[in-house]
């Protein structure tokens, strides 16, 4: 665990900012075990982005830039990551937990013979006795986990580690020559991005989530003016996504996105365990629900009992006035 390789992620030609808290994790772990860390960037035409990663105290920033890496495929990518880890002498690999790394990292772990900790939220202790914490049972339990293999792989929960700090010094950029080993077993067909002018759920300072209480697409659209004013991301419960009102990547919860914004509005949603698992670390939580017994009120800082169809326009108006818009 003394030489940690962090995988930085790109999305549509840019560094995915939400993948960077893994750098903070690696810096902390390196400090606690007396080691060092480097950052790896895989892709096609990504070399120009390396400069954005050199200021965080990494020893090296490795760039693997080849046409084969234009699209992700689990098998070939796992081979490439492990090949780079070997070249770099890395004994641990870490990345922020999202659908990219959840797909990739277990394969990397199997290939390295490493134990993997999913959704790591904290590092406990130091030196040879270092351990890790991770949520289980939809966040109802916090487990302390010990890695029993000489090498380790970490999925890092992005909301539990800050964005990395600039350290002043610059890391060396290394172009690593790792071939894309296409085994022909899988092929990429297409990607249909969720088109939205709003900020990404994991990056927004304000998130407004709606639930089944908003009834249908027209009801759900009542969140839009509020989101526009607050530059907020919109989230949803599984019920809303299942009903086809929202794309799946807006689902907040145990099996969707995990968010921890400064301000979270929960509107017309009950606060099922599975939903709360994805938002309970938000700084301030506001719940609007017509049922005063709804479980969401037990995690909300401010609860307003009432009809969302009546409250939303009033609240939107009040915020408009407050902002002088």
């Amino acid at each position: 665990m003394k030489n940690i390789l962090v995988i930085a992620e790109t999305f549509q030609g840019k560094i995915r900012k939400t993948s960077l808290p893994a750098v903070t994790f690696a810096a902390e772990l390196a400090g606690k075990v007396g080691g060092e860390f480097s950052i790896a960037l895989f892709g096609s035409g990504v070399a120009g982005l390396a400069g954005e990663l050199t200021g965080f105290g990494a020893k090296n920033v490795y760039v693997v830039d080849a046409p084969g890496f234009a699209n992700y495929l689990g098998g070939p990518w796992a081979k490439a990551v492990v090949a780079l880890a070997q070249q770099a002498g890395a004994t641990a690999v870490a990345a922020v937990s999202d659908t990219f790394s959840r797909d990739l990292l277990p394969r990397v772990a199997a290939r390295m013979g490493a134990g993997m900790v999913s959704e790591t939220t904290a590092i406990v202790g130091d030196g040879a006795g270092v351990k890790f914490q991770r949520p289980m049972w939809a966040g109802n339990v916090l487990g302390t986990v010990e890695v029993r293999t000489p090498t380790a792989v970490f999925g890092v929960r992005g909301t539990d580690f800050d964005p990395p700090k600039a350290t002043g010094g610059a890391s060396a950029v290394q172009n690593a020559s790792i071939a894309f080993a296409d085994d022909g077993k899988a092929t990429y067909v297409k990607f249909e991005p969720t088109v939205s002018a709003r900020p990404d759920l994991a990056e927004a300072a304000v998130v407004i989530s709606g639930g089944r209480g908003l009834k249908d697409a027209a009801g759900f659209a009542l969140l839009n003016p509020l989101a526009d004013m607050l530059k907020a991301a919109i989230g949803a419960t599984r019920a809303v996504v299942d009903a086809g009102i929202c794309p799946n990547d807006l689902q907040v919860g145990q099996t969707g996105r995990v968010v921890a914004p400064q301000l979270y509005f929960a509107v017309g949603l009950s606060g099922a365990i599975q939903h709360v698992a994805g938002m309970k670390n938000s700084k301030v939580i506001v719940a609007i629900n017509k049922d005063e017994e709804a479980p969401i009120f037990s995690v909300a800082d401010y609860g307003l009992v009432g009809d969302a169809f009546k409250i939303l326009p009033e609240l939107t108006d009040a915020i408009r006035k407050h902002k002088g818009l």
């Binding site: 277990p106 365990i273 939580i285």
Partner: protein, 249 residues
């Protein structure tokens, strides 16, 4: 087509889980157990494929003696036979589960291995990917749509930021997301029929699997509770709190 599919036993997904006072595990008294919801999606997908094009569906569970109940649910949903590898949850991590499943895959030689994307007790989201790497098979994780054409499978995958489509050659490993399908409820006649379907019992010794864990959960605790908040009566009061107390606007 021969399909291998998982049927993991988990604590009721909607139960409020409490940690034992001594931190050695969770309080299990009075808890109900269910089939892992993602396994339900995997089983439903397997049975639908079988209904379309024939073949065999073999369901597998790794767990203590009671896990056979959940395996029977898989049989009642339409799986043809079951395999129960007896091993208590407490002696397992995702890697050990994966290495056991690898052995079963090698024995059964299915065309397709369908798993859930995540077990809702451990929330690890690792096993399918581990199995795929150990067997050097292609994987399609977080599947929300499956289409078979010949020896190829086209899969829609639910990703952060959008929907991806990939094609994998068979044999392949697929992990199911919740929107893959709506799992059927077993009918009473099928529950009765399931009682007579064959279930093979195995141990990890018989399979020749090393019981060593790569990661071990050594302590359990309740997460810090959120401080209780207050109820406000009006939008004005809410605005006042958000602006002046929380300074959130």
């Amino acid at each position: 087509m021969k399909i291998l599919v998982t049927a993991k036993r988990v604590t009721d997904p909607d139960a409020k889980i409490r940690v034992k006072a001594d931190g050695t595990g969770i309080e299990t008294a009075g808890l109900e157990y269910k089939l892992n919801p993602f396994c339900e999606n995997a089983i439903e997908a397997a049975v639908q494929l079988q209904e379309k094009q024939g073949g065999e569906v073999v369901a597998v569970t790794i767990g203590d003696d009671d896990a056979v109940q959940n395996l029977r649910t898989a049989l009642a949903m339409g799986a043809d036979r079951g395999i129960h590898v007896k091993l208590p949850d407490a002696q397992m991590d995702s890697d050990l589960a994966a290495r056991i499943l690898v052995k079963l895959f090698e024995q059964e030689k299915p065309d397709l291995f369908l798993l859930g994307k995540q077990a809702v007790d451990g929330d690890s989201n690792q096993v399918g990917q581990l199995v795929a790497e150990y067997l050097d098979l292609p994987q399609a994780c977080f599947a929300s749509k499956l289409e078979v054409a010949g020896d190829k499978l086209t899969v829609d995958r639910e990703l952060d930021g959008g929907m991806e489509t990939i094609q994998v050659g068979l044999p392949a490993v697929v992990t199911a997301d919740l929107r893959l399908n709506t799992p059927r409820l077993p009918t009473l006649p099928n529950v009765l029929k399931a009682k007579r379907k064959p279930v093979q019992e195995l141990t990890i010794d018989a399979l020749g699997v090393d019981p060593a864990l790569t990661v071990a959960t050594i302590a359990y605790e309740a997460p810090p509770a959120r401080k209780g908040g207050i109820k406000v009566k009006t939008v004005e009061e809410l605005m006042d709190k958000l602006v002046n107390e929380a300074k959130a606007l």
